[in-house]
Symmetry: C2
Subunit: 443 residues, 2 copies
């Protein structure tokens, strides 16, 4: 393979991202050739529906509706899996590996659900599996973690990993709009995935958090092992109350590791974060990842987390790395080293239990607007061992209902979950309590 | 060389950064070995004064006061040039290259003054010259530009590249302290380089800007070809006036390229930047680099720009890359490709003249507090073709002196320089005008 003058790309899927990759490789072909010493040929693409309209740059003769013909074609050197989904994509990726092909992907759900199997299959077959585009779109965060910050151990990684929910929260805050109104707008703009739970329930961000956790700590964390909550319960009230506390509300993914106890914590949930934090200033569809290493200190990367071009930029960066390693003939040795590296990283660390995860909380309750209720609520919290930091009571939502906003001192997730269960059972608490977490500065 | 099981590091200089590198390689030795497949030996270090106290990890037997003995030692595989300066460091680096050694450096002044010669010498001798640590300390910005964002052409790069001046501006703004007072404090904290002009006159940031311009556009820009201004003239008045305009003052390096005219603009100067911009929120000693690529869009990287550990993190990342390429035996081929890549990047672009560089300006004048002066000032600006956007006149600084703060609409650097010269000649203008630039959002 090292003596090929052109490497052939086969695409699985030619949707928004695929067409972006095609377009930019066509446009930057000569620059990439001078960078790589070999050319990249836009060879073939498998699509579901041949009749759809696509970029005019893509000749119809390059299209097929048989994806097997891509992964089984001996001419194809690198497979770009941009089709999404986890079943068919998994099978095709495994077939590509069995045929010794390197696969570049943007499919975070697939990696997250089948990472162990897929990376093992890649290694067994001497193939690379590259996934820069799967986390934070155009931001080269995977390269930063693996290479730029290679000297570091990572105690804290956190960030905004889902652009859609960040867009919704930003619009609510800036325009004073209700959640439902902004969601309708985001749907109309095509910002929300077909499976809305991915964006609104924090699942997409959790997939990305799992990938970052693997890169940092060499261990796959399943979504069941994380606290994963989305933004559906957040109201303008919360955003305004956060503002009074000097904070914004952001959907944050957090991966932290205590190197003394060897325990990892990973989670995705909306949090109050001080406006003093750089990440709090990352609005609209932008993503941000803050990485605290024991050598480099704190590094923050901010950029477009999704969209045709940003994701294409990451896919092409992976293609370039793949070509470099293929044309240098060092693929096999670098795979072996990578495996050893992840093995070493995964030092038997375990997942922290809810009784170990500490933090401060924000709690909004709709309660009967009558004497004694605050006393009852504080009693429940006190019984759970939770001490209150601030109280903000606004009566007169009308009809005998008061809104009670509490913040707590540090407590465990477990104690808080118990208190919330008790609050749900309390007759004077009228709706499900809204629980948010408060971000603690890392410095 | 590929069959060596250990590669030997020789250090030139064992000051703050050198000791940081030594310490962290010692601590992370096994992790790095699993990553690299070969071990790193902390072999020898040349220092100026053998009697200085150093980390106890460094055995005195590893030290020498003869740097030639490092670069000429056939045992040394990689030289870490962390001595600073440009004369002796240049000679030693060239000798290292002639002996086929890869050199890792944090020395931005050296690269900036002798980049062409040094990179050529490296290539001629089949050696690598790596310099991640030379720009923005622990932030992996060079790797991001060269690899993570390889699919992009860069229309705009800007950022905060000097931590000391950012610290001074932050303290002035937050504490309401005068420039001289903060400078004294910064000196006491050891934040200011021995040659203070590097930090205070923008020269250090300009060195880094030149390196970023080379990486983005394959062309060395000398400091003579840039507008380089520092922070010495900035007073609390300016910071407060900027605040009233919704801005902060930051020392920004800017590298932009117009791909239609093939003209590059590079400069370093204090600027008013809207507090809405993420980079405006980067305070204290932190650095930030904002990169706008035609594919990835806007990416911002923020982190520690200096200090022992942050710089050591970058040096170690380069060492890891060097070892990977040496132990894979691909050094020569990757050097050839790199040369071809930079050659292609440097597409005959030229430097924009002052008559082409457009922007808006902020101008603070101390003037006679008497009728007709504002009319005289606006006439001078109008004669230079500059139109005024806002005027803020505060009389009563005492003793017949008024402070006049103007902002302008877009104009050229050349027109503004002419107007400033005329204002200096104007008898009712009592001190040298203070000219700042206003940052224009890139979106």
């Amino acid at each position: 393979m090292p003596d090929k003058s052109t490497l052939k790309l086969g695409f699985l899927g030619m949707g928004v991202v695929g067409q972006g990759v095609w377009k930019h490789i066509q446009r930057h072909g000569e620059t990439l050739r001078s960078r790589l010493g070999v050319g990249l040929e836009l060879y073939r693409a498998a699509v579901r529906d041949l009749s759809l309209k696509r970029l005019s740059d893509i000749p119809p003769s390059a299209l097929t509706d048989d994806p097997e013909s891509i992964v089984n074609d001996p001419e194809v050197d690198i497979v770009c899996e941009l089709m999404g989904g986890t079943d068919r994509a998994r099978e095709l990726t495994l077939t590509a590996f069995r045929n010794g092909k390197t696969v570049v992907t943007a499919n975070k759900a697939l990696i997250c659900d089948h990472g162990t199997e897929l990376f093992e299959a890649a290694r067994e077959n001497g193939a690379h599996y590259l996934f820069e585009a799967s986390v934070a779109g155009g931001i080269p965060v995977i390269k930063a973690l693996r290479e730029g910050l290679v000297a570091n151990r990572f105690s804290h990684i956190f960030g905004i990993l889902n652009g859609t929910s960040n867009y919704i929260l930003t619009r609510m805050e800036r325009e004073g709009l209700a959640y439902e109104d902004v969601l309708t707008e985001a749907r109309n703009l095509g910002y929300v995935e077909a499976d809305e739970a991915l964006d609104l329930d924090g699942i997409d961000a959790a997939h990305k958090a799992a990938i970052l956790a693997y890169l940092a700590h060499g261990r796959w964390i399943s979504l069941d092992e994380m606290v994963v909550e989305g933004i559906r319960d957040i109201t303008l009230h919360d955003i305004q109350a956060a503002h009074r506390l000097g904070c914004k509300i952001k959907l944050l993914a957090i991966i932290s590791k205590d190197f003394d106890t060897n325990r990892i914590r990973a989670g995705v949930h909306p949090m109050l974060i001080s406006t003093e934090e750089v990440v709090a200033g990352v609005d609209e569809v932008y993503n941000a990842v803050s990485i605290t290493g024991d050598v480099a200190g704190n590094t923050v990367l901010i950029g477009r987390g999704a969209g045709q071009d940003a994701t294409a930029s990451a896919v092409i960066s992976d293609i370039v790395d793949a070509v470099t390693s293929i044309s240098n003939g060092v693929l096999e040795s670098s795979l072996k080293l990578e495996a050893a590296f992840y093995e070493r990283l995964s030092d038997g660390s375990t997942i922290a239990g809810l009784d170990e995860i500490q933090g401060s909380f924000y709690l909004r309750l709709s309660v009967d607007d009558k004497p004694g209720v605050l006393a009852r609520v504080t009693e429940i919290l006190s019984n759970a061992g939770i001490s209150i930091s601030t109280v903000d009571q606004a009566s007169g939502e009308g009809k005998g209902v008061a809104s009670l906003i509490l913040t707590t001192h540090r407590s465990t997730e477990k104690a808080m979950a118990g208190a919330v269960a008790d609050l749900k059972d309390e007759p004077s608490v009228l709706e499900n309590p809204v629980l948010l977490r408060i971000f603690e500065s890392i410095d």
